[in-house]
């Protein structure tokens, strides 16, 4: 397994909006299933870099992180360790842990 991959999310969409296909073709579920989850098989750590996107939305992020927990792809601890968000905004980064913990709590 290779050590690390950095995804520039702006290369996927410059406006990360929406949870699933109801919200348009570029959405959190699509990004999770077609980029993040496949990369988890090849890389120990994945960094999602939102530095070049025009903002980011909780629904997009929740679908990636909460979705990985709901789909039981990784445990909460593994997810926090292996998938890291790069954002200028502390409140965005803080929410990631919340999405993971809330999704895990609903599973239990």
């Amino acid at each position: 397994m290779k050590p690390e991959k950095v995804f520039n999310v702006a290369e996927y969409t410059d406006t990360p909006i929406g949870r699933n296909s109801l919200d348009g073709p570029k959405n959190g579920a699509d990004y999770r299933d077609n980029f993040v989850v496949p990369a988890l098989a090849d890389y120990q750590t994945i960094k999602l870099d939102f530095s070049e996107t025009i903002g980011t939305t909780p629904s997009f992020l929740e679908e990636i992180f909460g979705g990985i927990i709901r789909e039981r792809i990784l445990s909460p601890a593994e997810l926090k360790r292996r998938v890291i968000v790069i954002s200028k905004y502390e409140s965005v980064k803080r929410n990631i842990n919340k999405y993971i913990d809330e999704a895990a709590a609903k599973l239990n």
Binding site: G18, G55, P58, Y89, S91
Partner: protein
Amino acid sequence: MDKLALIIAVIAIVATFASATSASVRNEAHQQANNIQSILKELSEITHRQFESYLLLEQENTTIDHAKANIYEATFNMKLDLLESNLELLVRRCSSMFFYDAESPEFYDQYIGMISDLRNQISILAYTAKGSRRSILVIDGKLTALYSVLNHYIGNRFRPIFEKRGDTV
């Protein structure tokens, strides 16, 4: 006599420097606080526009337009990004000054927590037309809390050093 004049001159220079620095910090902090207040007002306005349009949908019992909800959520979050960057400037400036410390790290931590909560609330409320009046109240309530905490911080930060703080009386 010469020594006395020298001491007085040094004291005058130090006092002038301290006064100018203090005024500069105060002015910039108030500018950032004004910017934050303007963003909070804009957030309230876009929220009212959004949920008032939902009221009609609620009466007609029709579903929301996902594209409009996406745009509202994205716009709201972009404005919160801007608010957060203003907050960082405010706290950085206020933390670098002597005289009085209004617990800037605690304020920053509390404010970031409130912004995080607001981001999440919007992502839930934006996608339902049910209870639109309540949604307006919830968001306005959270925006009011952000106003209030900011006012409290600015009030404490620039309170003259001889005044007692409200929470220590």
